[in-house]
Amino acid sequence: MLELKKLSMQFGALKSLSELDLTVNKGEIVSVIGPNGAGKTTLFNVVTGIYTPTSGEVLLDGKSIAGKDPADVNRLGIARTFQNVRLFLNMSVIENVMAATYANTKSNIFSSALGLPGARREEKAVRERAEELLNFFGSRLTGYRWEQPAYSLSYANRRRLEIARALATNPKVLLLDEPAAGMNPKETQEITDVIGRLRAEKDLTILVIEHDMHVVEGISDRVIALDHGVKIAEGNFDSVATHPDVVEAYLGKGSADRK
Protein backbone atom coordinates (compact mmCIF):
# COMPACT_ATOMS: atom_id res chain seq x y z
CA MET A 1 0.00 0.00 0.00
CA LEU A 2 2.57 2.54 1.19
CA GLU A 3 6.15 1.93 0.28
CA LEU A 4 9.28 4.00 0.98
CA LYS A 5 12.42 3.20 -1.00
CA LYS A 6 15.84 4.44 0.08
CA LEU A 7 14.25 7.60 1.39
CA SER A 8 16.67 10.30 2.56
CA MET A 9 15.97 13.73 3.98
CA GLN A 10 18.76 16.11 4.71
CA PHE A 11 18.64 19.59 6.29
CA GLY A 12 22.00 21.22 5.66
CA ALA A 13 24.48 18.86 7.23
CA LEU A 14 21.87 17.07 9.31
CA LYS A 15 20.68 13.75 7.94
CA SER A 16 17.20 13.35 9.38
CA LEU A 17 16.45 10.21 7.38
CA SER A 18 18.97 8.14 5.50
CA GLU A 19 18.12 5.50 2.94
CA LEU A 20 15.04 4.36 4.78
CA ASP A 21 13.09 1.40 3.38
CA LEU A 22 9.65 0.79 4.75
CA THR A 23 6.53 -1.00 3.59
CA VAL A 24 3.05 -0.85 5.03
CA ASN A 25 0.64 -3.44 3.66
CA LYS A 26 -3.05 -2.91 3.16
CA GLY A 27 -5.00 -3.20 6.38
CA GLU A 28 -1.88 -3.28 8.53
CA ILE A 29 -1.18 -1.20 11.64
CA VAL A 30 2.51 -0.33 11.81
CA SER A 31 4.08 1.60 14.67
CA VAL A 32 7.20 3.70 14.39
CA ILE A 33 9.18 4.11 17.58
CA GLY A 34 12.47 5.75 18.43
CA PRO A 35 13.97 8.31 20.73
CA ASN A 36 13.46 12.05 20.18
CA GLY A 37 15.17 13.28 17.06
CA ALA A 38 15.12 9.84 15.45
CA GLY A 39 13.36 11.28 12.40
CA LYS A 40 9.85 9.96 13.04
CA THR A 41 7.96 13.19 12.45
CA THR A 42 10.27 14.03 9.55
CA LEU A 43 9.18 10.73 8.05
CA PHE A 44 5.54 11.78 8.30
CA ASN A 45 6.33 15.19 6.85
CA VAL A 46 8.05 13.64 3.87
CA VAL A 47 5.25 11.15 3.26
CA THR A 48 2.56 13.84 3.44
CA GLY A 49 4.40 16.20 1.11
CA ILE A 50 5.38 18.90 3.58
CA TYR A 51 9.03 18.16 2.79
CA THR A 52 10.40 17.04 -0.53
CA PRO A 53 12.83 14.17 0.09
CA THR A 54 16.48 14.73 -0.78
CA SER A 55 16.48 11.37 -2.51
CA GLY A 56 14.48 8.15 -2.65
CA GLU A 57 10.89 7.29 -3.43
CA VAL A 58 7.52 7.34 -1.71
CA LEU A 59 5.02 5.04 -3.41
CA LEU A 60 1.29 4.84 -2.76
CA ASP A 61 -0.28 1.86 -4.50
CA GLY A 62 2.85 1.70 -6.62
CA LYS A 63 2.62 5.33 -7.78
CA SER A 64 5.23 7.89 -6.76
CA ILE A 65 3.97 10.69 -4.56
CA ALA A 66 7.29 12.14 -3.38
CA GLY A 67 7.50 15.90 -3.79
CA LYS A 68 3.78 16.31 -4.38
CA ASP A 69 1.92 19.16 -2.72
CA PRO A 70 0.45 18.20 0.73
CA ALA A 71 -3.07 18.86 -0.55
CA ASP A 72 -2.50 16.50 -3.49
CA VAL A 73 -1.03 13.83 -1.24
CA ASN A 74 -4.13 14.05 0.91
CA ARG A 75 -6.40 13.84 -2.12
CA LEU A 76 -4.59 10.64 -3.16
CA GLY A 77 -5.62 9.07 0.13
CA ILE A 78 -3.18 9.86 2.93
CA ALA A 79 -4.48 11.76 5.94
CA ARG A 80 -2.61 12.64 9.09
CA THR A 81 -2.73 14.10 12.56
CA PHE A 82 -0.05 16.30 14.05
CA GLN A 83 2.22 15.78 17.02
CA ASN A 84 1.37 19.22 18.40
CA VAL A 85 -2.31 19.05 17.38
CA ARG A 86 -3.10 21.57 14.69
CA LEU A 87 -6.84 22.13 14.79
CA PHE A 88 -8.68 25.12 13.35
CA LEU A 89 -9.06 26.44 16.87
CA ASN A 90 -11.47 29.29 16.23
CA MET A 91 -13.88 27.21 14.22
CA SER A 92 -16.56 25.06 15.82
CA VAL A 93 -15.93 21.37 16.43
CA ILE A 94 -18.24 20.26 13.68
CA GLU A 95 -16.88 22.85 11.26
CA ASN A 96 -13.42 21.40 11.76
CA VAL A 97 -14.69 18.09 10.42
CA MET A 98 -16.92 19.63 7.76
CA ALA A 99 -14.06 21.72 6.42
CA ALA A 100 -12.01 18.58 5.82
CA THR A 101 -14.59 17.28 3.34
CA TYR A 102 -13.54 20.11 1.03
CA ALA A 103 -11.69 17.95 -1.47
CA ASN A 104 -14.56 15.47 -1.77
CA THR A 105 -17.27 18.05 -2.33
CA LYS A 106 -18.04 20.25 -5.29
CA SER A 107 -20.28 23.19 -4.56
CA ASN A 108 -18.53 26.39 -5.59
CA ILE A 109 -18.87 29.98 -4.56
CA PHE A 110 -21.71 30.65 -7.02
CA SER A 111 -23.86 27.64 -6.22
CA SER A 112 -23.44 28.35 -2.50
CA ALA A 113 -24.25 32.05 -2.90
CA LEU A 114 -27.34 31.30 -4.95
CA GLY A 115 -28.36 28.51 -2.61
CA LEU A 116 -28.88 26.05 -5.50
CA PRO A 117 -30.55 22.74 -4.58
CA GLY A 118 -27.41 20.74 -5.32
CA ALA A 119 -25.35 22.89 -2.97
CA ARG A 120 -27.98 22.63 -0.24
CA ARG A 121 -28.15 18.86 -0.59
CA GLU A 122 -24.39 18.60 -0.43
CA GLU A 123 -24.22 20.83 2.62
CA LYS A 124 -26.73 18.61 4.39
CA ALA A 125 -24.79 15.48 3.45
CA VAL A 126 -21.55 17.04 4.69
CA ARG A 127 -23.12 17.86 8.01
CA GLU A 128 -24.51 14.35 8.42
CA ARG A 129 -21.15 12.86 7.57
CA ALA A 130 -19.43 15.08 10.11
CA GLU A 131 -21.92 14.12 12.80
CA GLU A 132 -21.41 10.46 11.98
CA LEU A 133 -17.64 10.80 12.23
CA LEU A 134 -17.85 12.62 15.56
CA ASN A 135 -20.18 9.93 16.88
CA PHE A 136 -17.40 7.44 16.21
CA PHE A 137 -15.90 8.54 19.53
CA GLY A 138 -18.94 7.61 21.57
CA SER A 139 -20.20 10.37 23.79
CA ARG A 140 -16.90 12.24 23.78
CA LEU A 141 -17.62 14.59 20.91
CA THR A 142 -21.37 14.65 20.57
CA GLY A 143 -24.34 16.89 21.10
CA TYR A 144 -23.66 20.29 22.57
CA ARG A 145 -19.96 20.08 21.77
CA TRP A 146 -20.57 20.29 18.03
CA GLU A 147 -21.16 24.01 18.03
CA GLN A 148 -18.43 24.88 20.51
CA PRO A 149 -15.17 26.37 19.32
CA ALA A 150 -12.39 23.80 19.04
CA TYR A 151 -10.20 25.71 21.49
CA SER A 152 -12.67 24.93 24.28
CA LEU A 153 -11.92 21.20 24.01
CA SER A 154 -9.73 19.28 26.41
CA TYR A 155 -6.41 18.01 25.18
CA ALA A 156 -7.65 14.44 24.72
CA ASN A 157 -10.71 15.65 22.84
CA ARG A 158 -8.55 17.76 20.58
CA ARG A 159 -6.64 14.63 19.61
CA ARG A 160 -9.91 12.81 18.94
CA LEU A 161 -11.23 15.71 16.88
CA GLU A 162 -8.05 15.69 14.85
CA ILE A 163 -8.60 12.04 14.01
CA ALA A 164 -12.23 12.74 13.06
CA ARG A 165 -11.04 15.58 10.84
CA ALA A 166 -8.49 13.34 9.14
CA LEU A 167 -11.18 10.71 8.55
CA ALA A 168 -13.39 13.29 6.85
CA THR A 169 -10.94 13.44 3.95
CA ASN A 170 -11.77 9.78 3.12
CA PRO A 171 -8.24 8.46 3.42
CA LYS A 172 -6.94 5.01 2.59
CA VAL A 173 -3.89 5.46 4.80
CA LEU A 174 -3.97 7.25 8.15
CA LEU A 175 -0.83 8.61 9.79
CA LEU A 176 -1.19 9.25 13.51
CA ASP A 177 1.54 11.29 15.20
CA GLU A 178 1.58 10.38 18.90
CA PRO A 179 -2.17 9.90 19.29
CA ALA A 180 -1.90 9.05 23.00
CA ALA A 181 0.47 11.84 24.05
CA GLY A 182 -0.77 13.73 27.08
CA MET A 183 -3.59 11.30 27.83
CA ASN A 184 -4.32 9.61 31.13
CA PRO A 185 -4.30 5.76 31.37
CA LYS A 186 -8.06 5.48 30.80
CA GLU A 187 -7.96 7.73 27.77
CA THR A 188 -4.91 5.89 26.50
CA GLN A 189 -6.80 2.61 26.65
CA GLU A 190 -9.67 4.26 24.82
CA ILE A 191 -7.46 5.54 22.03
CA THR A 192 -5.93 2.08 21.66
CA ASP A 193 -9.41 0.69 21.10
CA VAL A 194 -10.24 3.49 18.71
CA ILE A 195 -7.22 2.72 16.55
CA GLY A 196 -8.26 -0.91 16.38
CA ARG A 197 -11.80 0.06 15.44
CA LEU A 198 -10.53 2.44 12.79
CA ARG A 199 -9.01 -0.49 10.95
CA ALA A 200 -11.95 -2.80 11.49
CA GLU A 201 -14.76 -0.36 10.71
CA LYS A 202 -13.19 2.16 8.38
CA ASP A 203 -11.02 -0.26 6.45
CA LEU A 204 -7.87 1.81 6.99
CA THR A 205 -4.17 1.16 6.79
CA ILE A 206 -2.52 2.89 9.72
CA LEU A 207 0.99 4.14 10.46
CA VAL A 208 1.46 5.34 14.05
CA ILE A 209 4.22 7.20 15.84
CA GLU A 210 3.92 6.49 19.52
CA HIS A 211 6.00 6.67 22.66
CA ASP A 212 3.62 4.82 24.95
CA MET A 213 4.75 1.20 24.75
CA HIS A 214 1.41 -0.11 26.00
CA VAL A 215 -0.31 1.49 23.06
CA VAL A 216 2.36 0.23 20.67
CA GLU A 217 2.01 -3.28 22.07
CA GLY A 218 -1.77 -3.12 21.96
CA ILE A 219 -2.22 -2.02 18.35
CA SER A 220 0.77 -2.99 16.25
CA ASP A 221 1.01 -5.75 13.70
CA ARG A 222 4.55 -4.67 13.15
CA VAL A 223 6.94 -2.25 14.87
CA ILE A 224 9.75 -0.27 13.26
CA ALA A 225 12.44 1.37 15.36
CA LEU A 226 14.31 4.40 14.07
CA ASP A 227 17.40 6.05 15.41
CA HIS A 228 19.20 8.98 13.78
CA GLY A 229 17.15 8.46 10.64
CA VAL A 230 18.17 4.83 10.24
CA LYS A 231 15.97 1.80 10.71
CA ILE A 232 17.56 -0.23 13.49
CA ALA A 233 14.94 -2.90 13.99
CA GLU A 234 11.73 -4.22 12.50
CA GLY A 235 9.36 -7.01 13.44
CA ASN A 236 6.71 -7.84 16.01
CA PHE A 237 6.55 -5.85 19.23
CA ASP A 238 8.47 -8.29 21.42
CA SER A 239 11.35 -8.79 19.05
CA VAL A 240 11.80 -5.06 18.49
CA ALA A 241 11.39 -4.10 22.14
CA THR A 242 14.13 -6.48 23.20
CA HIS A 243 16.38 -5.82 20.23
CA PRO A 244 19.80 -4.77 21.63
CA ASP A 245 20.17 -1.83 19.21
CA VAL A 246 16.77 -0.47 20.30
CA VAL A 247 17.61 -0.75 23.96
CA GLU A 248 20.90 0.98 23.26
CA ALA A 249 19.23 3.76 21.33
CA TYR A 250 16.90 4.49 24.22
CA LEU A 251 19.20 3.90 27.17
CA GLY A 252 22.68 4.48 25.82
CA LYS A 253 25.63 2.29 24.96
CA GLY A 254 26.28 -0.71 27.17
CA SER A 255 22.78 -0.85 28.64
CA ALA A 256 21.92 -4.02 26.79
CA ASP A 257 24.92 -5.83 28.29
CA ARG A 258 24.20 -4.72 31.83
CA LYS A 259 20.68 -5.99 31.49
Binding site: T41, F44, I50, F82, R86
Partner: protein
Protein backbone atom coordinates in the same frame (compact mmCIF):
# COMPACT_ATOMS: atom_id res chain seq x y z
CA UNK B 1 30.28 57.03 -19.97
CA UNK B 2 30.08 60.21 -17.94
CA UNK B 3 26.31 60.01 -17.85
CA UNK B 4 26.36 56.41 -16.67
CA UNK B 5 28.92 57.22 -13.98
CA UNK B 6 26.83 60.16 -12.84
CA UNK B 7 23.74 57.98 -12.58
CA UNK B 8 25.69 55.34 -10.67
CA UNK B 9 26.96 57.88 -8.14
CA UNK B 10 23.43 59.28 -7.72
CA UNK B 11 22.10 55.76 -7.36
CA UNK B 12 24.64 54.82 -4.71
CA UNK B 13 23.83 57.92 -2.67
CA UNK B 14 20.12 57.26 -2.90
CA UNK B 15 20.80 53.59 -2.20
CA UNK B 16 22.74 54.51 0.92
CA UNK B 17 19.65 56.26 2.26
CA UNK B 18 17.43 53.32 1.35
CA UNK B 19 19.89 50.94 2.97
CA UNK B 20 19.82 52.90 6.24
CA UNK B 21 16.02 52.71 6.26
CA UNK B 22 16.09 49.05 5.26
CA UNK B 23 18.40 48.26 8.18
CA UNK B 24 15.78 49.49 10.63
CA UNK B 25 13.17 47.18 9.12
CA UNK B 26 15.55 44.24 9.10
CA UNK B 27 16.82 44.73 12.64
CA UNK B 28 13.32 44.92 14.08
CA UNK B 29 12.08 42.06 11.95
CA UNK B 30 15.00 39.91 12.95
CA UNK B 31 14.28 40.31 16.63
CA UNK B 32 10.48 40.56 16.77
CA UNK B 33 9.22 39.31 13.37
CA UNK B 34 7.22 42.53 13.25
CA UNK B 35 6.94 44.69 10.18
CA UNK B 36 7.31 48.18 11.55
CA UNK B 37 5.10 50.14 9.16
CA UNK B 38 5.74 53.35 11.08
CA UNK B 39 9.43 53.25 10.19
CA UNK B 40 9.04 55.56 7.19
CA UNK B 41 7.43 58.13 9.45
CA UNK B 42 10.28 57.92 11.91
CA UNK B 43 12.46 58.91 8.97
CA UNK B 44 10.15 61.87 8.39
CA UNK B 45 10.47 62.91 12.04
CA UNK B 46 14.27 62.65 11.68
CA UNK B 47 14.20 65.03 8.74
CA UNK B 48 12.05 67.49 10.71
CA UNK B 49 14.36 67.38 13.73
CA UNK B 50 17.31 68.12 11.46
CA UNK B 51 15.41 71.04 10.00
CA UNK B 52 14.55 72.55 13.36
CA UNK B 53 18.12 72.11 14.62
CA UNK B 54 19.30 74.00 11.58
CA UNK B 55 16.83 76.81 12.30
CA UNK B 56 17.81 76.85 15.97
CA UNK B 57 21.47 77.23 15.01
CA UNK B 58 20.69 80.34 13.02
CA UNK B 59 19.26 78.99 9.78
CA UNK B 60 20.96 78.01 6.51
CA UNK B 61 22.54 81.34 5.62
CA UNK B 62 23.46 82.73 9.06
CA UNK B 63 24.76 79.73 10.98
CA UNK B 64 26.16 80.55 14.40
CA UNK B 65 28.57 77.63 14.30
CA UNK B 66 30.96 76.32 11.63
CA UNK B 67 29.13 74.30 8.96
CA UNK B 68 30.64 70.88 9.78
CA UNK B 69 29.75 71.38 13.45
CA UNK B 70 26.23 72.33 12.50
CA UNK B 71 25.83 69.24 10.33
CA UNK B 72 27.23 67.09 13.11
CA UNK B 73 24.75 68.52 15.62
CA UNK B 74 21.91 68.02 13.16
CA UNK B 75 22.76 64.35 12.81
CA UNK B 76 23.39 63.80 16.51
CA UNK B 77 20.17 65.42 17.72
CA UNK B 78 18.09 63.82 14.99
CA UNK B 79 19.47 60.34 15.63
CA UNK B 80 19.03 60.56 19.38
CA UNK B 81 15.54 62.04 18.97
CA UNK B 82 14.31 59.43 16.52
CA UNK B 83 16.02 56.69 18.53
CA UNK B 84 14.00 57.71 21.58
CA UNK B 85 10.89 57.92 19.43
CA UNK B 86 11.58 54.34 18.33
CA UNK B 87 11.77 53.21 21.94
CA UNK B 88 8.50 55.01 22.73
CA UNK B 89 6.73 53.45 19.74
CA UNK B 90 7.89 50.01 20.77
CA UNK B 91 6.85 50.53 24.35
CA UNK B 92 3.33 51.73 23.63
CA UNK B 93 2.32 50.25 20.30
CA UNK B 94 4.16 46.92 20.05
CA UNK B 95 5.04 45.63 23.48
CA UNK B 96 1.41 45.17 24.60
CA UNK B 97 0.93 43.06 21.46
CA UNK B 98 3.89 40.75 21.78
CA UNK B 99 1.68 37.80 22.59
CA UNK B 100 -1.16 38.52 20.18
CA UNK B 101 -1.85 37.44 16.62
CA UNK B 102 0.48 38.26 13.73
CA UNK B 103 -1.87 40.75 12.16
CA UNK B 104 -2.36 42.90 15.29
CA UNK B 105 1.10 44.55 15.33
CA UNK B 106 0.73 45.29 11.61
CA UNK B 107 -2.52 47.15 12.21
CA UNK B 108 -1.08 48.86 15.26
CA UNK B 109 1.91 49.96 13.18
CA UNK B 110 -0.45 51.31 10.56
CA UNK B 111 -2.13 53.30 13.33
CA UNK B 112 1.18 54.69 14.57
CA UNK B 113 2.05 55.69 11.03
CA UNK B 114 -1.21 57.60 10.63
CA UNK B 115 -0.72 59.20 14.05
CA UNK B 116 2.82 60.39 13.30
CA UNK B 117 1.91 61.76 9.89
CA UNK B 118 -1.06 63.68 11.15
CA UNK B 119 0.59 64.87 14.34
CA UNK B 120 3.31 66.31 12.11
CA UNK B 121 0.65 67.88 9.92
CA UNK B 122 -1.03 69.41 12.95
CA UNK B 123 2.18 70.69 14.53
CA UNK B 124 4.18 71.74 11.48
CA UNK B 125 1.40 72.42 8.90
CA UNK B 126 1.46 71.12 5.35
CA UNK B 127 4.22 73.50 4.18
CA UNK B 128 7.12 71.81 2.46
CA UNK B 129 10.42 72.96 3.96
CA UNK B 130 13.96 72.60 2.69
CA UNK B 131 17.35 72.59 4.39
CA UNK B 132 18.55 75.03 1.74
CA UNK B 133 21.94 73.32 1.75
CA UNK B 134 23.24 75.38 -1.14
CA UNK B 135 23.37 78.51 1.04
CA UNK B 136 26.03 77.05 3.28
CA UNK B 137 27.71 74.57 0.96
CA UNK B 138 28.05 76.03 -2.53
CA UNK B 139 26.88 73.57 -5.16
CA UNK B 140 30.09 74.20 -7.09
CA UNK B 141 32.14 72.64 -4.30
CA UNK B 142 33.19 69.14 -5.17
CA UNK B 143 35.46 67.26 -7.47
CA UNK B 144 35.48 65.26 -10.65
CA UNK B 145 36.65 61.79 -11.48
CA UNK B 146 37.07 61.75 -15.23
CA UNK B 147 33.87 63.20 -16.55
CA UNK B 148 31.85 62.35 -13.45
CA UNK B 149 31.15 65.31 -11.21
CA UNK B 150 30.65 64.56 -7.56
CA UNK B 151 29.44 67.43 -5.47
CA UNK B 152 30.61 67.54 -1.91
CA UNK B 153 27.21 67.09 -0.23
CA UNK B 154 26.50 63.95 -2.21
CA UNK B 155 29.97 62.66 -1.45
CA UNK B 156 29.61 63.39 2.27
CA UNK B 157 26.24 61.65 2.41
CA UNK B 158 27.61 58.59 0.65
CA UNK B 159 30.63 58.37 2.96
CA UNK B 160 28.52 58.94 6.04
CA UNK B 161 26.03 56.26 5.05
CA UNK B 162 28.88 53.79 4.52
CA UNK B 163 30.39 54.77 7.85
CA UNK B 164 27.10 54.24 9.70
CA UNK B 165 26.62 50.85 8.10
CA UNK B 166 30.16 49.84 8.98
CA UNK B 167 29.66 50.94 12.59
CA UNK B 168 26.41 49.02 12.75
CA UNK B 169 27.95 45.76 11.56
CA UNK B 170 30.73 46.19 14.11
CA UNK B 171 28.14 46.89 16.78
CA UNK B 172 26.04 43.85 15.93
CA UNK B 173 29.05 41.56 15.79
CA UNK B 174 31.21 42.84 18.61
CA UNK B 175 29.06 44.20 21.42
CA UNK B 176 27.13 42.23 23.97
CA UNK B 177 23.79 43.73 22.97
CA UNK B 178 24.51 43.01 19.33
CA UNK B 179 25.28 39.39 20.08
CA UNK B 180 22.17 39.10 22.23
CA UNK B 181 20.22 40.54 19.34
CA UNK B 182 21.46 37.87 16.98
CA UNK B 183 20.75 35.20 19.57
CA UNK B 184 17.14 36.36 19.89
CA UNK B 185 16.77 36.38 16.13
CA UNK B 186 17.83 32.73 16.00
CA UNK B 187 15.73 31.44 18.90
CA UNK B 188 13.90 33.78 21.21
CA UNK B 189 12.87 31.23 23.83
CA UNK B 190 16.34 29.80 24.11
CA UNK B 191 17.79 33.32 24.39
CA UNK B 192 15.43 34.14 27.25
CA UNK B 193 16.41 30.95 29.02
CA UNK B 194 20.06 31.88 28.65
CA UNK B 195 19.31 34.94 30.76
CA UNK B 196 19.21 37.55 28.01
CA UNK B 197 17.11 40.56 29.04
CA UNK B 198 14.87 40.54 26.00
CA UNK B 199 13.19 43.90 26.72
CA UNK B 200 16.53 45.63 26.90
CA UNK B 201 17.67 44.13 23.60
CA UNK B 202 14.40 45.06 21.90
CA UNK B 203 14.74 48.63 23.21
CA UNK B 204 18.22 48.83 21.77
CA UNK B 205 17.05 47.37 18.48
CA UNK B 206 14.35 49.98 18.09
CA UNK B 207 16.71 52.75 19.18
CA UNK B 208 19.37 51.83 16.66
CA UNK B 209 16.93 51.11 13.84
CA UNK B 210 15.08 54.39 14.36
CA UNK B 211 18.31 56.37 14.75
CA UNK B 212 19.51 55.09 11.38
CA UNK B 213 16.21 56.19 9.85
CA UNK B 214 16.66 59.60 11.50
CA UNK B 215 20.12 59.88 9.95
CA UNK B 216 18.63 58.94 6.58
CA UNK B 217 16.03 61.67 7.06
CA UNK B 218 18.72 64.31 7.63
CA UNK B 219 20.67 63.06 4.61
CA UNK B 220 17.55 63.37 2.52
CA UNK B 221 17.17 66.96 3.71
CA UNK B 222 20.81 67.78 2.96
CA UNK B 223 20.35 66.49 -0.57
CA UNK B 224 17.86 69.32 -1.00
CA UNK B 225 14.70 67.30 -1.01
CA UNK B 226 11.57 68.69 0.59
CA UNK B 227 10.67 67.97 4.20
CA UNK B 228 6.96 67.43 4.82
CA UNK B 229 4.65 65.26 6.85
CA UNK B 230 3.95 62.77 4.06
CA UNK B 231 7.57 62.39 2.93
CA UNK B 232 8.15 59.10 4.77
CA UNK B 233 5.68 56.93 2.95
CA UNK B 234 7.44 56.17 -0.32
CA UNK B 235 10.98 55.91 1.14
CA UNK B 236 9.54 53.68 3.84
CA UNK B 237 8.10 51.44 1.18
CA UNK B 238 11.38 51.47 -0.72
CA UNK B 239 13.34 50.73 2.43
CA UNK B 240 11.14 47.77 3.15
CA UNK B 241 11.48 46.60 -0.44
CA UNK B 242 15.25 46.83 -0.09
CA UNK B 243 15.10 44.78 3.10
CA UNK B 244 12.98 42.13 1.39
CA UNK B 245 15.21 42.04 -1.68
CA UNK B 246 18.22 41.52 0.52
CA UNK B 247 16.44 38.96 2.68
CA UNK B 248 14.57 40.35 5.63
CA UNK B 249 16.36 39.96 8.93
CA UNK B 250 19.75 39.95 7.21
CA UNK B 251 21.95 42.98 7.87
CA UNK B 252 24.29 42.67 4.87
CA UNK B 253 21.17 41.87 2.86
CA UNK B 254 19.53 45.16 3.83
CA UNK B 255 22.65 47.08 2.85
CA UNK B 256 23.04 45.33 -0.50
CA UNK B 257 19.31 45.54 -1.18
CA UNK B 258 19.28 49.28 -0.49
CA UNK B 259 22.24 50.01 -2.71
CA UNK B 260 20.86 47.82 -5.49
CA UNK B 261 17.48 49.51 -5.30
CA UNK B 262 19.07 52.97 -5.40
CA UNK B 263 21.15 52.14 -8.45
CA UNK B 264 18.26 50.47 -10.27
CA UNK B 265 16.02 53.44 -9.56
CA UNK B 266 18.62 55.93 -10.67
CA UNK B 267 19.38 54.02 -13.88
CA UNK B 268 15.74 53.52 -14.83
CA UNK B 269 15.13 57.20 -14.21
CA UNK B 270 18.13 58.13 -16.27
CA UNK B 271 17.56 55.81 -19.19
CA UNK B 272 13.90 54.78 -19.29
CA UNK B 273 11.36 57.13 -17.79
CA UNK B 274 11.10 59.35 -14.75
CA UNK B 275 7.40 58.75 -14.26
CA UNK B 276 7.53 55.02 -13.99
CA UNK B 277 10.65 54.44 -11.90
CA UNK B 278 8.64 53.13 -8.93
CA UNK B 279 7.02 50.73 -11.32
CA UNK B 280 10.39 49.18 -12.15
CA UNK B 281 11.23 48.94 -8.47
CA UNK B 282 7.99 47.07 -7.99
CA UNK B 283 8.85 44.70 -10.83
CA UNK B 284 12.24 44.10 -9.23
CA UNK B 285 10.57 43.30 -5.92
CA UNK B 286 8.14 40.85 -7.52
CA UNK B 287 10.95 39.22 -9.49
CA UNK B 288 13.10 38.71 -6.41
CA UNK B 289 10.16 37.35 -4.46
CA UNK B 290 9.34 34.85 -7.17
CA UNK B 291 12.88 33.74 -7.86
CA UNK B 292 14.32 33.93 -4.35
CA UNK B 293 11.45 34.17 -1.88
CA UNK B 294 13.89 34.54 1.00
CA UNK B 295 15.78 37.39 -0.63
CA UNK B 296 19.32 37.54 -1.94
CA UNK B 297 20.95 36.96 1.44
CA UNK B 298 18.14 35.24 3.32
CA UNK B 299 18.30 31.68 4.52
CA UNK B 300 15.63 29.17 3.68
CA UNK B 301 13.35 28.66 6.61
CA UNK B 302 12.36 25.15 7.61
CA UNK B 303 8.64 24.61 8.03
CA UNK B 304 7.87 23.03 11.35
CA UNK B 305 5.01 20.58 11.52
Amino acid sequence: MGYLGQQLVNGLTLGGIYALIALGYSLVYGVLQILNFAHGDVYMVGAFIGYFVEIALGGPSHTKVPVPVMIFIMFAVSMIGTGLLGIVIERFAYRPLRKSSRIAPLISALGVSILLQNAALLLFSANIRTYDTSSFIPSTAGFSIGSVNIDSVRFAVLILAMLLMFTLSKWVNKTQVGRAMRAIAVDRDAAVMMGIDIDRVIRWTFFVGAALAGAAGVMNGLLLRGVSNGMGFIPGLKGFTAAVIGGIGSIPGAMAGGLLLGVVESLTQGYLSTNFSDFYTFILLIAVMLLRPNGLFGKKAIVKA
